[in-house]
Amino acid sequence: MSAPSPTTETERETERELAALGEAPPSAEELALLAEAGDLTSDLADVASVARLASLAEPFACDDLSDLELHRAWRAVEQRSSAQAKPAGGGPRRWLLAAAGLAAAAAVVIVVLQPFPREQTAGRDDAQPDAERVAKVGSQARATLRTLDDGVSDSQRAERMAAEYQRQLEEHGG
């Protein structure tokens, strides 16, 4: 089956980078993941840039964070971003895992630092994050979960674990 044709510049760039690495073009599932991650972080031009993130996140609702807590928050993001940016060197599609991890970290930042807009919370005790943001973060979570899907059904996994458990029990003389 042939790989789907990339339709956006990001997809074309991804395909070129993969070709330069001698890898196959991205699958439809991978392109969908890229699109979802891009959608979520479209207003975060450079996720790896802590300063940029901070400016985009303003004004955020965590006024009670101390300078030290803020510093720790950004440092955690920075460290995660740096870790994701290391050269791959492992098996194929590590770039996809790195991208998924980075997108997940970005989504967490959005959730933590912008739980809901200031204007929405003003004078209201029952303010909720807006449905659109909830849907986007939920979509990102599901997309990230799919990157860790090994294609094994619940039944198959349970059967395998039960068989392995029995083998281990027998080894221990049970």
């Binding site: 739980p115 939920g138 990102q140 039960a162 458990y165």
Partner: protein, 175 residues
């Protein structure tokens, strides 16, 4: 075989998540809570009790595969009545897989409130979850159930916790 270790990781996100909540919030008002307490799952000695549990879960999944949705939900719920033995990692992971599958089927059946009632006691932010895809899946199902019932704070908090869990798993896969 794997076992839940005594090492409990209080993920950094928890600090900031709780900092975002309002300490003066009235009781009963749900705050955005993104705390994630998680523990690694390590090898453990298999037991006869654990063996019976994993066999029962495998059988429940197998039977549920052959049933239509509502009957499958009831079959899986029956399996969930049995508690996994303590300090048994394999049983714990299968327990969370079972929870997630049951809740997902409930969501497919437009029974979000039922899924919420099922998941909330098991996935409370104060509960330490195993670092595994099954727990992330359960948190996402909890988020979906909360979103569908209009509790966007719980939905956002659950998705954030799921993303943090998935970040931990991705780091593990990459390393």
């Amino acid at each position: 075989m794997r076992r839940a270790s005594n090492i409990v990781l209080v993920v950094a996100l928890g600090l900031f998540g709780s900092a975002c909540t309002d300490a003066g919030e009235p009781a009963g008002e749900r705050a955005l809570d993104t705390r994630l307490e998680a523990h690694a799952v390590l090898a453990s000695k298999p037991t006869a009790e654990g063996h019976r549990y994993v066999q029962a879960v495998a059988e429940a999944h197998r039977e549920a595969d052959r049933l239509e949705r509502s009957a499958a939900i009831e079959r899986l719920l029956a399996a969930l009545e049995q508690q996994p033995p303590p300090d048994d990692g394999a049983a714990e992971l299968l327990h969370y897989d079972l929870l997630a599958r049951t809740a997902e089927l409930m969501l497919e059946a437009s029974a979000a409130e039922r899924a919420l009632a099922l998941l909330e006691p098991h996935m409370d932010p104060a509960t330490s979850l195993p670092i595994d895809r099954a727990a992330a899946r359960g948190l996402i199902a909890l988020g979906d159930a909360a979103a569908q019932t209009g509790d966007h704070r719980l939905a956002m908090g659950s998705y954030a916790r799921a993303l943090e869990m998935l970040s931990l798993l991705l780091e593990e896969v990459e390393s």
